[in-house]
């Protein structure tokens, strides 16, 4: 598969180089909101939306920065855009779905410090994706994040019923589970390379 085709970029971001399990981006919400499948789903959707908005804005901003040759301001501009995008999502969710707003709680504003989103904006700049490629990349990353979050939430719901030694209850077991998931996702590594 052509490494610059939209399908490959999408699959690469969603599965092969999954943001959470292969690149270690966005671990805080991954460990923090993965206790229940429902909240995990909502969090995934909110993150996906912010990813799309910030990816599009980052593309525009980078164009301006390059034009005026002030690339050293990139980081500051990106983080400011992400913070405003999160604020926008927060206000929209609060207005149209107060129930969801309460369910997500503190994790909604915390999307700002989700490194998956800043990472996405930086990666798409480093790899010099054009506009459509950036869109495919951010959708793929969002889908990958949601998939990882949902899988983890499903596992943790099962884990509640398991008998564990007292030592391993809590975060340690969550990390071990994440390790196993990450091991499983390494199986996607060969995907797409056979046609190269």
């Amino acid at each position: 598969m052509d490494p610059n085709s939209l399908t490959f970029i999408f699959l690469n971001a969603a599965l092969i180089n999954n943001f959470v399990l292969a690149l270690f981006l966005g671990l805080c919400p991954f460990l923090g909101v993965s206790a229940k499948k429902e909240t995990a789903w909502n969090m995934g959707m909110a993150t996906m939306f912010v990813m799309l908005v910030s990816s599009i804005s980052a593309y525009g901003i980078n164009w301006i920065l390059v034009k005026f040759e002030i690339e050293f301001l990139r980081l500051i501009c990106y983080i400011a855009v992400i913070a405003s995008a999160v604020q926008l999502v927060e206000m929209t969710v609060k207005k149209f779905s107060p129930g969801l707003f309460r369910a997500l709680g503190i994790f909604l504003p915390l999307i700002t410090t989700n490194c998956a989103i800043l990472g996405l904006a930086l990666f798409q700049t480093f790899r010099e994706y054009d506009f459509l490629q950036s869109l495919a990349f951010s959708t793929g990353a969002g889908v990958g994040f949601t998939v990882a979050l949902m899988l983890m939430a499903g596992l943790r719901e099962k884990l509640e019923l398991a008998k564990l030694p007292t030592v391993s209850q809590g975060a340690a077991m969550g990390l071990m589970l994440a390790g196993l998931l990450s091991l499983a996702f390494m199986g996607f590594a060969g995907l797409g390379s056979s046609h190269a």
């Binding site: 399990l21 292969a22 690149l23 270690f24 981006l25 966005g26 671990l27 805080c28 460990l31 050293f72 980081l75 500051i76 983080i79 400011a80 913070a83 915390l110 700002t112 410090t113 989700n114 490194c115 989103i117 800043l118 990472g119 930086l122 990666f123 480093f126 007292t166 030592v167 391993s168 809590g170 975060a171 340690a172 077991m173 990390l175 071990m176 994440a178 390790g179 196993l180 990450s182 091991l183 390494m186």
Partner: protein, 220 residues
């Protein structure tokens, strides 16, 4: 400088030591895990990342603490983020100038220090309320604690995954490296194992305390 009553903390050894052990950002508070797992596949990367974070943490804590009376409450988070982003940009260019190899090895994770919740957490929870001296000492403690945690992971992963530490051969050539330790799953496993160890130590200490209490009550 006016003193806010019953909020200011006296600068003691504890201000520094807390970050190392009791409130270790990685092992106890589980903050800033992304760089902890992503760049610790070798000891060198771990040291560089730890020092970069330490610098940003101390510099931004100092500035936030200096400006704490001037920053309006409503826009404080945005202000902190901009301050942090400025220092990260400096670190980014400095590392690029010192060692391009290191810069390429760490990749986007230097710039991602901005999104490290340890730093924003310190600014919000400590530096915005305390005096400059206390903030600096606390930030150094936290930064050193963070670096130690990175080293704990980096050395174990490099030793098991490649049989070396800082590039020096430790195990004999008969040693078959556990390649998985350098790959992403290894990061999760090693951090999980450290957390298990600390939890075990904590529980054993609690049991000993309980046993000691039981002995004294029985004896008296």
């Amino acid at each position: 400088m006016s003193v806010l009553p019953n909020q200011q903390e006296q600068v003691t050894l504890d201000t520094f030591m807390r970050g190392l052990w009791e409130e270790n950002p990685v092992f106890v508070m589980l903050l800033g895990l992304c760089p902890v797992l992503a760049v610790t596949n070798s000891t060198m990367n771990a040291i560089a990342m730890g020092l970069a974070t330490l610098f940003v943490l101390v510099a931004s804590s100092t500035l936030v603490s200096l400006l704490r009376k001037m920053i309006p409450k409503q826009v404080r988070i945005a202000t902190y983020i901009i301050i942090i982003a400025t220092f990260v940009t400096i670190v980014d260019y400095v590392i690029q100038a010192i060692s391009l190899d290191l810069y390429n090895a760490l990749g986007a994770f230097i710039q991602l220090i901005v999104a490290n919740c340890v730093i924003l957490g310190r600014a919000e929870a400590y530096a915005s309320k305390q005096k400059v001296s206390a903030s600096i000492i606390n930030a150094i403690g936290m930064g050193v604690g963070f670096t130690i945690a990175l080293l704990c992971l980096g050395t174990v992963r490099e030793l098991l995954g490649a049989g070396t530490i800082l590039g020096y051969q430790i195990f004999s050539s008969n040693f078959e490296p556990w390649v998985v330790m350098i790959l992403p799953p290894g990061g999760f496993f090693v951090l999980g194992a450290w957390l298990l160890l600390f939890e075990y130590l904590k529980q054993r200490k609690e049991q000993k305390l309980l046993a000691a209490e039981g002995a004294t009550t029985n004896g008296s």
